[in-house]
Symmetry: D2
Subunit: 154 residues, 4 copies
């Protein structure tokens, strides 16, 4: 059991890893994620994508709770485009891949994919903005450096 | 209490209504829809949009359960683009507006908006496909006629 | 469309009503509430129950957001017992009934039921505590009076 | 990446492990699990508990999807009692512990706990029933043997 009181970025069950410049987070499909069509409910993929972004930030040493505590910096989703290509099913193990595409002053665009083995199930482009108390703010330089595409991660 | 065993399209608490060619469904924000940022969780808006589409279909005399029962016709989301413009908050009463834009053989595009009073909070374009047992099928003519944009609804 | 900027307690799509001393809220089942068993996901009923409690409080002139704003009073669930008797299904219209059983200094017990027509699907007993910044506080007298069982509501 | 088409019980990111006769599953808290109180939404704990039960069954070589496929055996929740003792927060790493208490013909009672480090946050007792097409059925002997309390697991 990790030390939950003082979790380091590498702590925990689902931090994922960097592979060829992309952050990859494994995600298991449970009952809660499905609907009566027998497959995964379409909005559940957004929860998987958000877990991927959160673990990507954490892997870059950025805890969302720490950001929130230090002056209340948070990332909010401003725009999303989503292609639902194939359905995921109960008990599937999926991989959520996240890679930064474009980091601007107060926002960044992330490319995200959800795969099952070799199958691409969903592809997404997500624009997130840095906000403090509801207002757009500049992404801190230390964070910007950590998130820069192509920067090798341990 | 409506007869839940044989609900007519007009039954129930949240069917919404047609206004100037758009279907409008009121939605209340509850605890379940929010996250610790204090506002509505971004994926919750997709649930609101889906309620809007379901009630839009029901208002056009199309129960999703009936479609499912009769040969298993269902609508699945193939593509979505979403602009998150302003946040919604706990206890807000929102309006989900749905209007068909383009009905093709086996798919249709819907324009959807979520408003709070005069404020536009989210705008979306949603491509849904008709499927039967996972395969794309032609939208039945009776349904196509009922969904046609510009057709006046009672 | 209600005035969402200044919603009065009676505003909105889903406030429910008092019937024979019980608050009754109609709830429609959507895709989001189901799982791949084909029925409603068991945790979804807790969301329905919470909507029922929120509307019950609102009907007693208590907006949870107002409580939160005025010194941060909130109600949190301390204990629940739940009997899942029959499943609910997609498109069902359910009724969530809420009645206070026992109001103490800083907590109250509510009896709740979920029905579909004459069928009782779920019965629950819920202990909620009044808290301010994480600490138990006394339920304000005005609220206590409004919630008292047997008090006739308009 | 595990072979998702043929996952073995040990596959995947979140299978947990047996510790002193209890199955323990680590769970990370994400945005999706919280509400505007700043803590975890009360119904989210039920999702964590269900993940714990699913991984407990999987660890006992029982895939819920396999059960469903083979004649449609499924476990459904019949009764739950829940004590919410302390709140969990964003980014927390929790541990969901599951231990069978009583295995009967067509049902079993599980004791479950959610902890953060040494802190007990929630304790639950859950009665689940084996059903096939909505009817109670006897738990298969092979499954009963695998689930028996006190049986050492690898």
């Amino acid at each position: 059991m990790p030390d939950a009181a003082n979790p380091s970025p590498q702590d925990g069950p689902a931090c994922g890893r960097f592979e060829a410049g992309r952050h990859v987070l494994p995600v298991r499909v449970y009952y809660e994620d499905t609907d009566y069509s027998g497959s995964v409910y379409h909005a559940s993929y957004l929860r998987f994508l958000e877990r991927g972004r959160t673990e990507f930030l954490r892997a870059a040493s950025v805890s969302q709770r720490d950001l929130h505590a230090r002056g209340g910096l948070a990332f909010v989703v401003r725009r999303m485009s989503l292609d639902f290509l194939k359905p995921a099913h109960m008990d599937d193990v999926l991989a959520v891949a996240t890679v930064p595409r474009d980091i601007r002053g107060a926002s960044m665009t992330l490319a995200q994919e959800i795969c099952r083995g070799e199958d691409l199930l969903l592809s997404a482009e997500v624009l997130v903005a840095a906000v403090r108390q509801g207002r757009a703010v500049r992404i801190p330089e230390v964070l910007r450096a950590a998130l820069r595409p192509g920067v090798p991660h341990p």
